[in-house]
Amino acid sequence: MKCRRCSEKAVINMRQHKLALCKVHFLDWIPEQAERFIKKYRMFGHADRVLVAVSGGKDSLSLWDVLWRLGYPADGLYIDLGIDGGLAYSAKSQRLAEKFAAERGLRLHVVSILQEYGETIPEMAERTWRGHTKPCSVCGLAKRHVMNQVARQGDYTVLVTGHNLDDEAAVLFSNTLNWLPGYLLRQWPVLEANRPGLVRKAKPLCRLYEREMAAYALLSGIEYEYDECPHATGSNTIFYKELLNRLEAERPGAKLGFYLSFLQAKQNGLFAADADPGVQALHTCPRCGQPTSAPGECAFCRMVKPADQANSR
């Protein structure tokens, strides 16, 4: 199979786009597409201060690489969750993020959950009701809190994450299966900072397939955390991705069509603005200053240990 843009041998065939490309043209194509989506959804411009949340995984490091190549001034944020799982998972991920940043002369902020709050994410999950049997819910809450906090403190105008099309399609699938209007209303490539204390968030990779991003990382020589989070076993996200991939195998482009049709339907007014039963007045958390709908402290501050206990370890 030949590259569509030249006569070289193709290294990737993207059936969903009816497009096969060689290594050189594929490594051009991904940044071209990302730039196209950044502009289409008005995510940010070259005057913005961009903070990239990096996990050490293929998507976030590839995203940071793409932004760097496109000339966007982007710093990184790595959150050490304290996950070991017998793999030294967090330690290895951090090392890969730091190596990536050092190789390109990029600035990386590192926040340790253990140092800041006195517990690792697995420990927090075990102690709180929120953790139940797995720390994913605790992890998500902590990451969103810390990302927003670091972005605000650093005066960044936009926080970007490496969510790809497969992530978005799996979330959309889950939210549709369960008809969760609040989440469906809020799913969009950009989340505006429409409440005091919130930072604008964007997902430049939202229309790029997970397989495309993995190929980009491999072909670019980006060393990333290949092992899955040890707590991801049996996760709904991976299950839904597998189901959607079965559909994609039979109907190339189905995942992208599903997501884009949803975005179009939303723009056409499919969801009434008051369809979200969770929309409530927000106030400022007295402890951290971030917005919350709950009375008193926000969900994150209620979850972590008080400051005097956090520093005692």
């Binding site: 797995k134 819910s137 989340l191």
Partner: protein, 73 residues
């Protein structure tokens, strides 16, 4: 000699002469879920695999969460 496909720490053997895509489907691996490396180069699914070739498969799916898909704010 059969074709060998390696995914993480699992090895699979299939008959030579099939496309990569057919090989993947035969061993129960979704083509969308992997990338394939042969002799250090990424290959596309229509490549016909020959006797004795060893293909390394790179899993691409990641992510894990259980409920409340999406962000609250």
């Amino acid at each position: 000699m059969p074709v060998k496909l390696i995914l993480r720490n699992q090895e699979f053997e299939v008959k030579a002469g099939m496309t990569l895509r057919h090989c993947l489907l035969k061993i129960g691996v979704q083509p969308e879920a992997v990338l394939a490396i042969l002799d250090g180069q990424m290959i596309t699914e229509e490549v016909i695999l020959q006797d004795g070739q060893v293909v390394k498969l790179i899993a691409v799916i990641s992510g894990g969460s259980r409920a409340g898909q999406g962000t609250h704010t």
